[in-house]
Amino acid sequence: MSRIRNAAAALALAMAALCGPQARAETTLTVHYPMPGFFKAVMDTVAAKFMAENPDVKIAFATPSPTYEDGLQLILREAGTADLPDVSFVGLNRLRILSERNIVADLQPLIAQEGDMEKLGFTDHILSLARWGGRQAGLAFATSNPIMYMNADLVRKAGGDPDHPPKTWDEVIALGGRIKALGDGDAGIDFRWQGDDWMFSALLFGDGGTMLSPDEKTVTFDGPAGQAAFALVGRMVKEGGMPAFTKPAGEQAFVAGKVGLEFQTTGALRNTIDNVGRKFELRTAPIPLLDPKDGRLPTGGNAVVILTKDPAKRDAAWRFAKFAAGPYGASVVVPGTGYVPNNALAATSPQYLGDFYATHPLYRAGLDQMDRMIPWYSFPGANSVRVTQAIVDNLSRVVEGTATPDAAVKDTAAEVQKLLPRR
């Protein structure tokens, strides 16, 4: 499909080049992106604006991939063939695979050439989200952190005060238990532990824990922080009224008004607002941290990467990457999705999003947590995705009550240790 479309686009371009009155050199960039449900409108807007400002570059979109994983597969399949897109957007936790396989361009030299990236709103902190071992694999495009979504009506019914949301996990669990006790099939908590290790790392990093030792050879998430994280998931089920939802079931139950407190990415905010509509009053708040002082949160989202090896195209691709990840791109992404701004300039300048947050309080929860964001940990070596699944599988044992949190964390550590590269 994309091949046909690319071929058609190339043909059309060739015709245009042959017949056009002025033979101006024009570069066409093939751009690929994931999750069209979130990003299609955003991408169209950004590309149109970019082409208006850069008339010598044309943006042609490849068929988007439904998820980050599908996008990664497409790139890996087409790497080294003529079909490989010139620019893509890759999930932050999958960037390392492409970087280790040398498929994405190292942006370090381009950044050095640019000089002052800070002036464009790219602080070193923001750049570090897409950096692995000295290589700049991409520029963070859409970034998110986990927040708490509240059904204010249920919270009030259970005797809580939505203006003073729970600040600690103990308060969350107590409130969740009271919401479940209302009966009527209401659930207290929905914590998005399914799918990948992102929300687990929110609990782990929130207690100051780490996944692996600094040399990346030994599992460290079975330490006190990881044990506390697993125990907390167990308590959510036993005391906080969290059912064993599948991922879509949890989301649907929340927007249907049957869940009191939901914990997931702020990137889902726009969709949640649209789906809840007027069914109940939706509120958001920062996610509690086991260690309120030194706790950190993982950064979800994706980064724009350059795949083309052609020098002329690379220049155009760099311009597009800077533009998309720059302040204008962020000012389109944030209201359109709920992601937090990945650009310091965009967040503060009234020209971009300075005024947006004053009028859209639901979006503040993610913004207020921005200084806690650290990279979404990506495991080294060939088994990195399998490691993620091992964590999810063991969490589901805790949620189903077939293993104690202590046993589950031990099993996870043993499984993951075996999957790490033996060097």
Partner: protein, 312 residues
Amino acid sequence: MAEALRSAARAPGRPSGARRPAPRPAAGGALPLSAPALVLLLLFVILPTLAVFGLSLTDYQLGDDALVFVGLDNYRDLLGDAGFRGSLRNTMVYAALVTPASVLIGLGLALLIEAETRGRALFRTLFFLPVVSLIVAMATVWQYLLHPTIGPVDQLLRLVGLPGPNWLGSSDTVLASLALIGVWQSVGYNMVLFLAGLTAIPRDLYAAAAVDGAASGWQRFRLVTWPMLGPTTLFVVTISIINAVKVFETVQTLTEGGPNRASEVLLFTIYREGFVYLRVGAASAMTVVFLLLLVGLMLLQYRIQDRRTHYA
């Protein structure tokens, strides 16, 4: 027609001059005529299968530019892989639930529809609808129906005071829930096949059976319908098993193999190994095993059933 030709050939005393040259075996013509099909078969079926077998002997990972020949290591790993064994077991349980149910219900519906002339087309269409609907879209509907808090099924159960099971969310019920969807999806297809088989049974056999004293419906079914449906049943059972073993879409859309791998089936494991974990070598080994299993199952089944099937 064939009879006429044969008797014409046997007819004696024909003038030899009128005899046409005897048809020679068209040995030279067969190959060019079947070549297009053979080339396509080679290109799109045989070569890819061989390629999968070749890859299964390597450690190839998607996106890597190098691969190493590892012999039978991937197969040896499979033997000790609890995940693969679990997924094999899940697939068998699923097939064992779906195949008999969808074949028997399909047969029952076909008999009921065949027996009554009113509304025949309507019921045929209604029961066939799940087959033509897009299963990924319908999976979403099932997901809502079986939802533990807002799903109508559990709400009805709560109304009568029964605790609704957490259909797709609990590892105890998830396979049965998926099997339920699988049966719903394939019953219509089996029904249509059985209907076709039923119309092919000559009416006079029933008349003959009646003369011989087969009075009850059950006797008619046992003595005429069931034996005459033999070839159809063989085909339906075969295709049902293949389809059940190939289950993927509902697992991918509804459970992603969870909770805790309780609904991981073979195709899903292969997909995950190859395209999510990127370990193409290991996934190819699984594919080869899957293929062998399927072929073995079919051969066995044909051996057993073919002997007892009466072809009219």
